[in-house]
Structure formats: C-alpha cells, structure tokens
Subunit: 150 residues, 2 copies
Amino acid sequence: MTHTNISQDEPIYSIGTAARLLHISVHTLRMYEREGLFIPYKKDSNQRLFSKKDIERIECIRRAINESKISINGIKTIYSLIPCWDVIECSTEDRKVCKAYNGHTNACWSYKHPKTICENRECRTCEVYNSFGDCSSIKEKIKEITTTNI
Amino acid sequence: MTHTNISQDEPIYSIGTAARLLHISVHTLRMYEREGLFIPYKKDSNQRLFSKKDIERIECIRRAINESKISINGIKTIYSLIPCWDVIECSTEDRKVCKAYNGHTNACWSYKHPKTICENRECRTCEVYNSFGDCSSIKEKIKEITTTNI
DNA sequence: GATAATTGACATTTATAAATATCAATAAAT
DNA sequence: ATTTATTGATATTTATAAATGTCAATTATC
C-alpha cells in the first residue's frame, strides 16, 4: 500500500501493444472496457493508453474468466459488492442517490456520480478502483470490516 | 428472521415435482446441488425432498443464471463472500482452519467443517444458508456491517 | 407384486457468452 | 506523404457452460 511506483502507473502501452502482451485481441479489450471492468487512460485524441498496473489488472480479469469460469456479468456483480461507500466515507444523502450504493449489477466506477462526493473524482485514480481490481481483495475487505467490528 | 412458517419449510415435493414447478429438468436440479448452490432435504432412503422455500431459492438462482447472466461459478464465488463468520460468530481459531473463511470459490454450506463450531451444525437449517439465498441480500448485509460501524 | 420415480455416473446436445471479423473514419508514426 | 494503428458500431464465429439424454440399480407408490 501507499508506495506508488510511477512507472507502474504510467500509461505507456497502446491498445495494440496491450493486446499483444495479454494475448487477446483489441476487440476483447474494448469489450471489457465497455462492460466497465476497467478504465484505461485516454489521450486528448481519445486513444487509450495502458499502464503496467492496467495490464496486471486485466490479467486478473482474464484469470477470473478463463480459470475461475466466472462470466463477465458475474465479475461485474462481484465488483458491485465492493463497499466503496465505506472507503470514500460518503454521506447518507449521497448514498440515497448513488447508483453504486443502491445497485447490484455494476462496479461503482462504471457509473457517473452526479450530486455525490464522487461527482468530480476521477475513478481511474480512485482508491476504490485501485484497491479492488483483484476479486479476492474484496473478501479481505469484508473480513477487515467484520473483524474491526468486534 | 424469526417468524418461521412451517409449511414454507416443510419438504414436500419430490425432485420430479420440483423440476416441473421450476420448468427445468431433474438433471439440472441435481447439477445445481452438486455445485453447492442449494441443499435439499434428504430422506433416510437418500431421496431428495423440496420445500416451498427451496423452490423460491432455486427460482432466484435461475434468475441469476438466465436474466443476470451470472455463471454458476460466478454465483458460487458471490456466495463465498457471505460473511458467515460474522453471523455465526466463530472463534479466531475456527477461522484459521475454516475453508469457508479462507476460500473464495464456494459457499460455506458446501464444505464440511471439521474442528469448528459448524462441525455439528446442519447447514440446511443454518441462519447463513437461509438468510443469503438471494444474492442481493449479500450486499444488504455488507451495508449493514459498514453502517453499524460508524 | 408390478409400475413409476428415484439414484449416481458418464455421454451428448444445445444455447449463448465470449471472442473475432469487418467496416469507414480518424489519428499516429515513420 | 504514406503506412500503420486507432476509433466505434454492427455482424459473425467459436468455444464451452449449461442443460439433457441414457443407463442399470435402488426405492416408492398403486
């Protein structure tokens, strides 16, 4: 935690290079993005750029799909269980109108967040997005919450 | 939650009848059971019997598969996130050896639980099994934990 | 006691999610 | 400047999860 390696976060790979590194097609990457599984950096020209951390994140998604046999909608549903509200510590009013807090089909970072604390936050750099890319980290978070509760 | 309707819980339907009520085949029901999605009542002769609540539970599973497009392994993974340890209030020692607490592929009720408080508990009648059949109830539980934590 | 339903194990089929292909337009790289 | 890669949108293919089929043995029901 905390020690952020700039080179890990720096968006350097084009979508073509990323696809080659991941042994998947460009189309597949765009599909994953459309489904809200990840958020790539975008240049002013709208072209995507991927960091090493992005690649790792997508490798993790691939394992979920290919090894764990979890469907994309399954992954999205799992992401929807991330207690982002507890990380962000948003207000009760925010929670009332928040699609992430109230939904159970999509990751919080796949929504716009009008009228909440997340309105002007950049999801790609958000702690929630960055801490819970790995599905298994979600259970650890749930454990953390319950044990500190004793 | 408290008011238990006996007729809802009473195992009355054979697997053939259950399959007809659910518009699926007997094979599919057995497959779901093998995957640990639910636990039917079993007669001494080893034959399954289903209660009305069982039927509702399986309808919910069907919606997850057919409407939400979550794969069976996805559902299992979601079930594995249920904080059973918090419901059961098992000990730290129990948690160390518990497959449910430490795994992230299966519902707790699909494991044997040697050397833990759950060792002699009947999963089919357990609060964890009965409270979290509906996937959406899991997020509500997570919310509950985090809000009482404020 | 005879017919119907269940059991588990293994094989097969089918439905569809996931992955590609194609396209014309735009941007990047050499 | 020309080649190569990107964009989004729509259509098509493929890989495989999910659902059935079949079997002989056991149990339930009429």
